[in-house]
Structures are given as C-alpha cells and as structure tokens.
C-alpha cells in the first residue's frame, strides 16, 4: 500500500536559517504533490502545489522540489522566522483521486 513519510522528529532551527523538510513516498505515482501548514487547533492551510512534470516551484520564501525518480519532495523555507513554527504536511494525489497526507513534521524556529 502507499506510504508517505515525513521526518517524524521535530525540526528545530534558528531564525534566519533555511528549514528543509522532507517527504518520501513509496508504492505510488502521484500526479501532483501539495504542502500544507497546520497550526495547533486549526485546519491545514494550503501552501504550494507541484506537478509531476515540474522540478521546482517557488512562492515568496518557500521553495518545493519534486523528484519522481527518488520519490521525494523537499520543502524549503528560507530566512525562517518564529512565525513559521507550525506542522507542515505533504499530500499526494493522482489527479481526481483522493489526497493522501503524510504524518507531518513539526517545525520550531527559535529567535
């Protein structure tokens, strides 16, 4: 069955550094991959979508890469700020199929 793995441990980094979060998947060929942010007590909020034929996508301080050979996506936040502290979820889908979410990685940015 499909499996999506994200760093299970929390990621702690210093303000101003680049945070890099990993999403690996197996037994799946997604058409696209999405990243969401979830704050405690709130619903996930969409950040970025990258399609299987795209290598990289950027939005302000965010950058996502998608390597279908390695079956991996990397999510980067440059010049990180304490306000970036949250749980980040990756999710995969095959076009009209359901979104399958990873377990999320908690990011803590220290001043």
């Amino acid at each position: 069955s499909q499996k999506i793995e994200q760093n299970s441990e929390a990621l702690n980094i210093q303000e101003g550094k680049t945070a890099t979060l990993t999403c690996n998947y197996t037994n799946y060929s997604p058409a696209y991959l999405q990243w969401y942010r979830q704050d405690p007590g709130r619903g996930p909020v969409f950040l970025l979508l990258i399609r299987e034929n795209e290598k990289e996508k950027r939005k302000e301080r965010l950058k996502v890469t998608f390597d279908t050979t390695l079956k991996q996506s990397l999510f980067h936040i440059t010049a990180s700020q304490p306000a970036d502290s949250a749980t980040y979820l990756c999710a995969l889908a095959r076009n009209t199929d359901k979104l399958i979410f990873g377990t999320g990685t908690r990011l803590q940015v220290f001043p």
Binding site: Q34, G43, P44, L49, L89, N95, T96, D97, K98, F101
Partner: protein
C-alpha cells in the same frame, strides 16, 4: 467571511450516543470532504462529495453517514459512538474533484467518554 465553517467546535459525548457535525462552505466549490485526524495527527480522508454525489467512501464503519443537502453543505452523522471515534474531524472543499488546493474548516474535536 469564513470560507469553510464547521459546528460544533467541540463535542463531548458518551459512548453509544448519536451525534452530527455540520459543515458549510461559501466558496462556490463543487467538492467537499470529511477527514479524520487522530491523536498522532495523521489526517485521513473519510468521504468526498462532488455536487451532492458521493464519490469517495473510504473503509469507514457504516455508523458514519455523510449527507449533502446541497453542494455548499456536507454534514456527518455518527451513530453509536465508540471510544475510538475520538479525534478531530475536518471538513474541506475544493473547486472540483481533484482540483488541487483544498480549503479546510477549523475542525471539530470529538471526545467520546
């Protein structure tokens, strides 16, 4: 101007009871979803409706019954609640089936005692 709203925010009830969670979206989207997020924060789809028609029904106990009176509303009714039903339930919507970005509601924390 809440895009996706759910009620109630918190629900505490006894085992064996029946309860409902309501969801409404004002985005004009065609597709709505119910997700369950367990204590380990794993978010799993339960149901999806497209224009009031059920399109995804994961292996969810038939004690869970979704109802979509119109495409802006998707309610979730749960019969004979069990301890294992305790979780946070999220409603979400998207423009259409498989159309990328999903908008999530604030969640309903269900606690079964």
């Amino acid at each position: 101007d809440t895009a996706v709203s759910q009620t109630p925010k918190y629900l505490v009830t006894q085992m064996g009871n029946d309860k409902s969670i309501k969801c409404e979206q004002n985005l004009g989207h065609d597709t709505m979803y119910w997700y369950k997020q367990d204590s380990k924060k794993f978010l799993k789809i339960m149901f999806s409706y497209n224009n009031k028609e059920l399109i995804i029904n994961e292996t969810v106990p038939n004690r869970f019954s979704p109802k979509s009176p119109d495409k802006a509303h998707l309610n979730l009714h749960i019969n004979s609640l069990e301890l294992g039903d305790s979780a946070v339930y999220f409603c979400a919507s998207s423009k259409s089936q498989g159309e990328g970005e999903q908008f999530f509601g604030p969640g309903t924390r269900l606690t079964v005692l």
